[in-house]
C-alpha cells in the first residue's frame, strides 16, 4: 500500500511518535519518580510540592532552563570522554579525575598568563584544559596499550590521585594568599572568564560541547578514522591483521576522550567558579559515565540522557533551598532513574560499556 504523504498524516504520525515516546518514558521512569516520592513522604516532605519546585525551577521558565543547560555542559563533555574510548571497547571511568586535571592546567594558565588579552588567553586555557585531561587519560591509555594495567582500573584509581593533586595545589602552591583560610586559588582575571549568553550563566562551553558532539557524530559516521575505530571495536584481531596500529589508537582515543573531560574542567573553573576549588565537581565525571552508558554512546541519546540528569542535578539545588533537604538528595532520584534503565532486560544496544 502506498503511503500518503499528506502533511496531516505525517503530523499525526509525528504526534503518535511523541505520544509513544512519552508513554515509554513514563513506563520506564514512572516507577523511579514514584519511589522517590515515597522516600520524600517518609522523610516528612511533600513530594508533589517537591516535584512542582523542580519543574518550576528547571523547565517552566527561561532562566530555569538556562540552568539546566549550564549543568548539561560538563555532563555532555564528560559523557563524550567516556563515549569516545568506548568506540573501541575501552572503558574510561576516569572522567572525574580528567576533569580535575584539566581544571588544574587551565587554572595554572589563567594565573600565570593573566596579562594576555582575552582573545589569546581563552583559547590557550581551553587548550591547556584539553591537554591536561588528555595527558591524564593518555597515561591510562599507555598502560593499557602496553598490556600492563586495564584502563578500567587505572582510570578509576587515577580519579582520586587527580582530586588529591588538585587539593595539594589549592592548599599549597596555588593557594590564594588573600583568602586566608579558604583552600582556593586566586580569582581569575576577567580576561580568563568565558563569555556568557543573554545574562544567564550559560557560557561558551555550550558551544564547545555541541561542537564536540557534532564532530564526534561526524567522525564516527563519515571518516576513515571512524571506520577504523569501528573495525577495532568490532574485532581487535581482524583490525590488527589489516594493519591498523591498535596501540596508537588506544592512546590517541584516550587522549581525545580525556581532553573532553579536561575541557569540562576548564569551562567550570573559568565560567562557573572563577577560581580553582577542591569542590569543583559534584561527580560530573561519574554522571557522564552513566550518561554515555545509558545512551550506548549515541550522540542524540547522550543529549537526551544529559537533559534528564541535568534537570535532576539542578532540581537538587532547588530542593536544598525550598524543602531544606540535603543537596545530595537529588542523587537518590538520579540513582532510581538509573536503576530503572539498568533493570531493563531487553537492551538492544549491547553492552558497550560507554
Amino acid at each position: 500500500m502506498q503511503r500518503a504523504a499528506s502533511p496531516g498524516v505525517s503530523l499525526l504520525r509525528a504526534g503518535q511518535g511523541t505520544a509513544v515516546g512519552l508513554l515509554r518514558f513514563v513506563v520506564l521512569f514512572g516507577p523511579a519518580f514514584v519511589v522517590f516520592a515515597v522516600v520524600l513522604l517518609v522523610a516528612g516532605k511533600n513530594p508533589m510540592k517537591a516535584y512542582a519546585d523542580i519543574f518550576s525551577a528547571t523547565l517552566a521558565s527561561g532562566y530555569g532552563f538556562s540552568e539546566v543547560l549550564v549543568k548539561m555542559i560538563p555532563l555532555l563533555l564528560t559523557a563524550l570522554a567516556v563515549a569516545i574510548p568506548s568506540r573501541i571497547w575501552l572503558i574510561n571511568v576516569g572522567g572525574e579525575g580528567q576533569l580535575y586535571i584539566g581544571a588544574l592546567f587551565a587554572t595554572w594558565g589563567a594565573l600565570t598568563l593573566a596579562d594576555l588579552p582575552r582573545w589569546a588567553l581563552l583559547p590557550i586555557l581551553g587548550a591547556l584544559g584539553f591537554v591536561g585531561g588528555g595527558l591524564w587519560a593518555a597515561l591510562s591509555g599507555v598502560l593499557r596499550a602496553r598490556g600492563w594495567v586495564s584502563e578500567t582500573i587505572s582510570t578509576l584509581l587515577f580519579n582520586y590521585v587527580a582530586i588529591l593533586l588538585v587539593n595539594f595545589f589549592v592548599f599549597g602552591p596555588l593557594k590564594d594568599p588573600e583568602s586566608a583560610n579558604y583552600p582556593q586559588s586566586a580569582q581569575f582575571v576577567p580576561a580568563a572568564t568565558l563569555p556568557t549568553f543573554f545574562g544567564t550563566r550559560v557560557h561558551f562551553g555550550l558551544v564547545l560541547a555541541v561542537l564536540a558532539l557534532v564532530i564526534y557524530a561526524l567522525v564516527l559516521s563519515r571518516t576513515r578514522w571512524g571506520l577504523e575505530m569501528r573495525a577495532i571495536g568490532g574485532n581487535v584481531e581482524a583490525a590488527r591483521r589489516s594493519g591498523i596500529p591498535i596501540g596508537w589508537y588506544i592512546v590517541v582515543v584516550m587522549l581525545v576522550g580525556g581532553g573532553m573531560a579536561g575541557l569540562a574542567g576548564m569551562t567550570e573553573v573559568s565560567a562557573i567558579q572563577g577560581r580553582l576549588r577542591p569542590s569543583l565537581s559534584p561527580g560530573y565525571g561519574f554522571t557522564g559515565f552513566l550518561i554515555s552508558w545509558m545512551a550506548g554512546g549515541r550522540p542524540l541519546g547522550m543529549v537526551a540522557a544529559a537533559v534528564l540528569l541535568a534537570i535532576i542535578t539542578a532540581g537538587g539545588d532547588i530542593l536544598q533551598m525550598t524543602q531544606r533537604l540535603p543537596g545530595s538528595v537529588a542523587s537518590i532520584l538520579m540513582a532510581l532513574v538509573l536503576f530503572a534503565v539498568l533493570a531493563r532486560r531487553d537492551r538492544a544496544r549491547g553492552e558497550r560499556a560507554g
Partner: protein, 305 residues
C-alpha cells in the same frame, strides 16, 4: 622512630585501617564471585548513617553495629538484583549504587548531624593490655578492631578451604563450567554480595561509631574506592588485604603525626599512596593477564541461554 611516634602511628593505622579492611574483605568476596562493585562507597555510607542513627535512638552501639551491617547488606542486594538477575552492567550499576547511598545517607542522616554518641567503648584485654607500649598499641581497642583480623582469617578459610568457597571461586572463574558442575552461579553470587554488603556496613559502622563518633555527609571520603584499589593491591587475597589496609592506615596515621609535630608534609600527597601503589603493583606483576584476577570478573553470566 621514637616510641611515642611509633605508638601514635600504629594506633592511627589500626583506627583508620579497620574500616577499610572490612570493606576490602567484602569486595574481595564479591570479586572472587566475579562481580566488581564500585558502589561500596554507598554501602559504607549507609552502614555509617544507619549505625549512627540506631545508636542515637537506642543508646546501644551494639544495636548500631548490627543495624549497620544489615543496612549494608540490604543495599548491596539492590545491586545484586541489578547485576545478577537483570544482568546489568556492573560498573554502571555500581556507580548508580554509589549515588543512591550518598543521597539516602544524606537524607537519613540530616536529623543526626551534630548529634554526639559515646560510641563503641574501648575494651582492655585482660593481662595483655597491661604490657608496656604494646598493651596500649595492640590490646586496647574497640570490638570491631579486635574482630577484623579474625574476620579476615575466616574469609580466607571460607574462600579457600570450604565447599562454598570453592563454589564461589569457581563461579568467579568460569560461571558456565560451575553451572555445568551443578552449581547455581546466581545463588552463590547473591550470597557473596549479601556477605560483602554486611562487611561494607560494618566498615561504615566503625567510621561513625568508633573513629568519628559523629555523622557527617559523605564521611567515608573515598574509602570505598580505596577498598576497591586495595583488593587489586592484595591480589584478591583476604590475608594480603590486611597488609594493604595497614599500609593505608599507616599513611593516614603518619601524616596526622607529622602534622601534629609541625612537619611540613602534604597529607594529600601521602593520601595518593594506596592508589599509586595499587597501579604500581599491577605494573610490577607485568600485565593484566598474569595477575590473580578472577577470570570472569565483570562479565555477565548469561545462564543457559
Amino acid at each position: 622512630m621514637s616510641a611515642p611516634l611509633l605508638v601514635g602511628v600504629v594506633l592511627g593505622a589500626i583506627a583508620s585501617g579497620t574500616a577499610v579492611l572490612y570493606a576490602t574483605l567484602g569486595e574481595v568476596i564479591g570479586e572472587r564471585a566475579g562481580i566488581v562493585n564500585l558502589g561500596l562507597e554507598g554501602v559504607m555510607l549507609m552502614g555509617a548513617v544507619v549505625g549512627f542513627a540506631t545508636t542515637v535512638e537506642t543508646g546501644s552501639a551494639g544495636f548500631g553495629v548490627a543495624a549497620a551491617a544489615l543496612a549494608g547488606g540490604l543495599l548491596n542486594l539492590v545491586f545484586a538484583y541489578l547485576v545478577i538477575s537483570r544482568r546489568a552492567n556492573q560498573l554502571a550499576s555500581g556507580l548508580a549504587l554509589m549515588f543512591c547511598g550518598v543521597g539516602l545517607s544524606a537524607l537519613l542522616g540530616a536529623p543526626y548531624v551534630g548529634s554526639r554518641i559515646e560510641g563503641l567503648n574501648e575494651i582492655r584485654l585482660p593481662v595483655l593490655s597491661n604490657l608496656p607500649v604494646a598493651g596500649l598499641m595492640l590490646f586496647t581497642h574497640d570490638l570491631l578492631v579486635f574482630l577484623v583480623v579474625p574476620v579476615a582469617l575466616v574469609v580466607w578459610w571460607v574462600l579457600f578451604f570450604t565447599r562454598w568457597g570453592l563454589a564461589l571461586r569457581a563461579v568467579g572463574e568460569n560461571p558456565t563450567a560451575a553451572y555445568a558442575a551443578g552449581l547455581s552461579p546466581m545463588i552463590v553470587q547473591y550470597q557473596a554480595l549479601l556477605l560483602a554488603g554486611l562487611l561494607g556496613g560494618l566498615a561504615g559502622a566503625h567510621l561513625s561509631l568508633a573513629v568519628a563518633r559523629t555523622w557527617a555527609e559523605w564521611m567515608t571520603a573515598g574509602r570505598g574506592f580505596i577498598a576497591v584499589a586495595l583488593v587489586i593491591f592484595s591480589k584478591w587475597h583476604p590475608l594480603r588485604a590486611i597488609v594493604g589496609a595497614l599500609l593505608f592506615g599507616g599513611a593516614v596515621a603518619l601524616q596526622l603525626q607529622m602534622q601534629a609535630r609541625g612537619v611540613p608534609i602534604s597529607s594529600f600527597l601521602l593520601d595518593m599512596l594506596p592508589y599509586l601503589l595499587s597501579v604500581g603493583v599491577l605494573i610490577l606483576w607485568g600485565g593484566t593477564r598474569r595477575h590473580a584476577a578472577p577470570a570472569s570478573l565483570g562479565r555477565v553470566f548469561r545462564g543457559t541461554e
